[in-house]
């Protein structure tokens, strides 16, 4: 559960609901609003004749279908975003769009002239009532979304199954719409007189329809203005403005359906519905490009790292080959001096002295590897160990998948901060994970890789990489850390010795233990920043 929360933190700049709008976005939003005000002024100023416009019956079904498609897609995209981000607020706004899509069904069924002259279901007031619930309901959802987003910023994650959550939201919204539709259709006789006939609005329209919608839209506007931060919030602000502007447009200059103003309102409504969708699609495309860039950059970084690793290995291999060559050569010479009919003991002794000297030199090579990692104190930074684990698992993702290895990551959220060379520690982790994968690739399933992080000895952190491979025998459990010891047919045997050198250079330890019933656990410890500081202080005092 910690895992998901932290992943959200690291990746939140890839989501519309968490991304901050840029200044360009804000400018575009402002232009849209100003444009709407101009259109509004033109309409009320008499651009369209206030008289009864020509009644185009085909307009309503076409308009409703377009709205339905738009809102359904928006809802789907937002539900998808919830399934990744697991923030309940997203679930609320996704439900809002699902609500506006669904409520079009009772609206279409009751609207006069769509299916039958007086509407397929309900009576004169039904469609108007559905309209009120629709335009009142959506701002309520928006307010709920903003408030929910702010209410519990510390625990925004949904812990259960996202599928269940989405299914529940869809079911709840459907029930809500069904109830609303039922009230408007079956309870038509008790509804207040909004409509005079199938076209004209009654004198009470401003109080029964206009005022509630305007008030709730203004409330939503205020809440969004005060609390809104993301791109999604910005565009919802514009949508709420559209809802607000619809109210006077519907009544002035002509309080009737199929007037110029009424057609304008439908177009406004459709704009509102498609606005968030267009922005969502545009942002998804932009973010996809950014994500692709990030993935490619990460891949390049990994390749660069592997190359550094290979270069180090090649250098070490070369360094070790020199004394080995000398040892093999001198040994053969010594043997030949002794194997003569009259053994030349002096020359044989000389050869053996050379062997001893070269043996020491081979040991020095290993020592110098350690020194090589020790020198880099300047590159030490504060490390987020859990972040390193996530990154390593992401880098090995395709290999883990390929070998059908199940990954269990259990990361402690309250680890002390440790310092180290990020690239080196990451190499150790990658090396251990790669070894675990290779150990499990040759065995039967189940193959389980378990990576843990835990506090260690009051001031440090211990990271363990456990596999369910063949395991390591007690005899080999120290030898595996020696240079040139390998169980792999094509391995150089430098991996674990380098890993141990790196960890020891970080004042940590690297060790191996059995993982009953099967496999091995490699563990390494790193010390916290505080203890390093106090150690160097003690060292300074000791020198004095």
């Amino acid at each position: 559960m910690l895992k998901t929360a932290a992943v959200v933190d690291a990746e939140e700049h890839f989501f519309l609901s968490t991304l901050s709008p840029g200044s360009a976005q804000k400018r575009i939003a402002l232009f849209v609003v100003l444009g709407l005000v101009v259109v509004f002024a033109l309409i009320t100023g008499g651009l369209f004749p206030g008289t009864q416009g020509s009644r185009v019956n085909a307009f309503v079904p076409a308009y409703l279908t377009a709205m339905f498609v738009c809102d359904s897609i928006t809802a789907t995209l937002l539900f998808a975003e919830f399934s990744i981000l697991r923030a309940r607020a997203i679930l609320v706004i996704a439900s809002a769009y699902f609500f506006t899509a669904l409520i079009l069904i009772p609206y279409a069924l009751t609207f006069p002239g769509v299916f039958t002259t007086n509407g397929l279901l309900g009576g004169l007031q039904s469609a108007a009532c559905v309209y009120v619930l629709w335009h009142f309901g959506f701002p309520v959802f928006v307010i709920g979304y903003v408030l929910w987003k702010d209410r519990r910023p510390s625990s925004p994650a949904w812990n259960g199954s996202t599928r269940t959550a989405i299914a529940q939201s869809i079911a709840l919204t459907a029930v809500l719409v069904a109830v609303a539709g039922f009230v408007c259709i079956a309870g038509e006789a008790w509804l207040p007189p909004i409509m005079l006939d199938t076209a004209r609005f009654g004198p009470q329209w401003p109080y029964l329809v206009g005022a509630p919608i305007a008030l709730i839209s203004i409330s939503a506007l205020i809440v969004l203005w005060l609390r809104g931060r993301s791109v999604l919030d910005l565009w919802l602000l514009v949508v709420m403005f559209l809802y607000l502007i619809e109210v006077p447009l519907s009544y002035y200059p002509a309080p009737s359906r199929f007037s110029g103003g009424w057609y304008a309102v439908r177009i406004f409504g459709f704009s509102a519905s498609s606005l968030v969708l267009i922005v969502l699609l545009y942002e998804i495309e932009t973010l996809y490009a950014r994500l692709l860039g990030a993935v490619l950059a990460q891949r390049r970084e990994r390749e660069a790292r592997l190359m550094t690793g290979n270069a180090i290995a090649a250098t070490i291999a070369h360094e070790v080959k020199q004394p080995l060559t000398a040892i093999a050569t001198s040994a053969a010479a010594g043997f030949r001096f002794l194997d003569r009919p009259t053994p030349n003991l002096d020359r044989a002794k000389e050869a053996f002295r050379q062997i001893v000297a070269d043996g020491h030199r081979a040991a020095e090579v290993v020592g110098s590897i350690r020194a090589m990692f020790k020198n880099d104190v300047r590159t030490r930074t504060a490390l987020d160990v859990n972040d390193l684990i996530r990154e390593a698992l992401a880098l090995e993702h395709s290999d883990l998948l390929k070998h059908r290895i199940q990954v269990e990551a259990d990361m402690d959220g309250r680890l002390p901060e440790v310092r180290g060379d990020r690239v080196q520690v990451q190499q150790v982790l990658l090396n251990l994970i790669t070894n675990a994968i290779e150990a499990m690739a040759v065995i039967e399933e189940p193959r389980v890789l378990r990576v843990n992080s835990k506090p260690y000895e009051s001031d440090g952190v211990v990271i363990s990489v456990a596999d369910t491979g063949a395991g390591i025998s007690a005899r080999d459990s120290e030898r595996i850390f020696n240079p040139l010891f390998t169980t792999k047919p094509d391995g150089m045997g430098m991996g674990l010795s380098i890993c141990r050198a790196i960890i020891e250079a970080h004042d940590g330890r690297l060790w191996v233990a059995p993982n009953p019933p099967r496999g091995a656990i490699f563990q390494f410890s790193l010390r916290s920043r505080a203890s390093l500081v106090s150690d160097s202080g003690a060292e300074a005092r000791a020198r004095l």
Binding site: L324, T325, T329, A333, G334, R347, Q354
Partner: protein, 131 residues
């Protein structure tokens, strides 16, 4: 073959002093006369090139690598047996040297007995026409 008078003189070139020493001991154990050089130019300037019967040289060396040294020696001694030793066999496969003529290659770390066998074989083949 007696213990006192070497039949052949071998020049050994390696920038690694300890490898150089061990090669000298090994070749001396097989009764070769050995001249050791820390670099290609030292050998070329020593005036020994005309007197040696074989060359054992490292490939990767600063200043002048084993290929370049072999090329220069071939110009004066076209049939001289040359044995190259390298820690990077892969590099060799990537860039096979041209116009180097006949040579033997050993990859480090090698078995001392193998080196002696290769040296003996190279010398035998070269001297076969002149029994």
């Amino acid at each position: 073959m007696t213990d006192d008078t070497p039949d052949f003189i071998i020049a050994v070139v390696d920038d690694d002093q300890r490898v150089l020493e061990s090669l000298q001991t090994l070749l001396e154990s097989a009764n070769y006369g050995v001249r050791v050089f820390a670099s290609g130019p030292t050998l070329l300037e020593s005036g020994c090139v005309a007197k040696i019967d074989g060359l054992v040289s490292d490939v990767a060396m600063p200043e002048m690598d084993g290929f370049e040294l072999s090329r220069r020696i071939r110009a004066v001694r076209p049939t001289l047996p040359i044995i190259l030793i390298t820690g990077h066999a892969a590099m060799w496969k990537l860039a096979p040297p041209d116009s180097l003529g006949d040579y033997r290659l050993l990859e480090k770390p090698f078995d001392g007995v193998d080196l002696l066998a290769v040296v003996a074989d190279a010398l035998r083949n070269t001297w076969k026409p002149q029994p």
